[in-house]
Symmetry: C2
């Protein structure tokens, strides 16, 4: 395995941030996992995250290196939650270079990120996705986002949850640039949409990519704030909903809504398709799949 941190690259200002960025994603993962385990414990459950380290599989036409740790918990509140932190480097294969900023000149890349998907036992608790990442080619940028998938979009509780989730992300955005939230919210609405059904995946959130304001330190601070906003908002939503009673009809509806989640991820999600087509770690990529689904 190649030492991911040693990959030489034409160095945008982001290059110096690599160790700090990676350390931040890992520390955030630890805090999120601890919080989720605490919620399980409050419910009298003893579920814990199980972590598995993996090395990046060989990408035909590239020289990959690095790997990651996937942490998975199957609990009573969190029916299935996966948190994946990975730091990888290598060369992008020919077919991907045209689509990745700065890769046409030099195929080498470095990427580090955290991604999380939680599917909840109680259909009153919304599912959630969150991720942030830094990428380096001859350019450097941040990307990420988070979106909430309540099972009943129009129920007052779901509307309240979505409002709180959006408010937290908006707060993180507004501290950095008043233009961020409207832009990143609209981006999220466009991205998490199922054209074959004419349906949004859920209640949205924010989505951003290719973020390079010219001040890498500032962008990194924004990405940290997005992580803090997620950590402040989502566990609070889980805590206030996870003891609500629910009906079999609600559970059935939840399992059908999870089908939409699967359809989105396998038909459209760029990260999923990119990972599967480039020989990524299948278990890590598909860790986001719901534990139980119906069609």
């Amino acid at each position: 395995m190649q030492d991911a941190s040693a990959t030489p690259l034409a160095a945008p200002p982001h290059a110096a941030l690599r160790p700090r960025v990676q350390a931040w994603f890992e520390a955030l993962r630890d805090r999120i996992c601890a919080e989720f385990e605490a919620i399980e414990a409050e419910s009298g459950a003893s579920a814990r995250f199980v972590s598995t380290a993996w090395d990046r599989a060989c990408d035909p036409g590239g020289s990959p290196g690095g790997g990651g740790v996937m942490s998975l918990m199957r609990g009573q509140v969190f029916e299935k939650v996966g948190v994946n932190v990975s730091t990888v480097a290598g060369e992008l294969s020919e077919s991907f270079r045209a689509n990745i900023p700065g890769a046409a000149e030099d195929p080498r890349f470095w990427a580090s990120g955290i991604s999380l998907v939680a599917h909840m036992a109680n259909p009153r608790v919304p599912a959630v996705h969150f991720n942030t990442r830094m990428l380096l080619t001859t350019r450097g940028w941040f990307g990420g986002g988070g979106d909430l998938t309540p099972m009943r979009l129009d129920a007052p509780e779901a509307v309240a949850d979505a409002a709180d989730f959006h408010a937290a992300l908006r707060g993180a955005c507004d501290r950095h640039d008043p233009g961020y939230y409207p832009r990143f919210k609209a981006w999220c609405d466009r991205y998490f949409y199922l054209p074959h059904r004419g349906e949004p995946r859920g209640a949205g959130g924010i989505f951003f990519d290719n973020l390079d304001s010219g001040d890498a330190l500032r962008d990194f601070a924004f990405v940290r704030d997005v992580g803090e906003a997620f950590l402040a908002a989502y566990p609070a939503i889980v805590r206030r909903r996870c003891r609500e009673p629910w009906t079999e009809a609600e559970r059935t509806h939840q399992l059908l809504r999870r089908g939409r989640y699967v359809e989105f991820n396998l038909l459209y999600d760029r990260g999923t398709l990119f990972g599967l087509r480039t020989g990524g770690n299948v278990e890590a990529i598909l860790m986001s799949m719901p534990p139980e689904v119906r069609w």
Copy 2:
């Protein structure tokens, strides 16, 4: 709705077969549904197929016509089985013309077919897929196939089921051309494969497309024989397995294997992706999705 049968086309010998081909697919559907309902009745269940007619949705850039009938049964033996017969006509949009034989010269097409997917309650009973179709552009051809998805590929019972299924299809092939079975079996093995997992979807069967021997009547007779072979083989497999006792572990394994089925259909299946991208009937296209799945 445009009258699908009236679409004018440069007429390959297949054109005259349109009413007979459509009638065959509908009659085969009726016989298959009756047989599956009989199996339910033998198990003391009263499940019946529920049929829904649909018109083809508008394809941007085309002038679609026709429609189909989807027949769905949720029973005790057949946890979920869908049989879809459709006969559609219209114009292929620009982006598809290059990939469809004979469409570059004239974008009009006509297609009729039957497709079936059965997901079984008992994990000892293999799932199955079967379809046959005739297509017309300025050329005409047949396509189709069937494949079996036992849940435990290596169990002696699964090996025996797969052998019987293959033997029936081989019989149908051999009656027409000794080269068909080896060629169509290999095609099936290549097609129903999950590269991201390095796994076959199941125990295979046959798969063929663009079949035009120069004798449309002969090709239609082959397609009918494939249908007869399916009808002879699969219900017999269901009958001998559906009363076998099974364990919770086998059921869990079945639900995980169904996840592979979903992955294949949404990531790779050409019919599914073509349908979803051309504004096809979502419920009919995704009728093949398993009723319950785990990851």
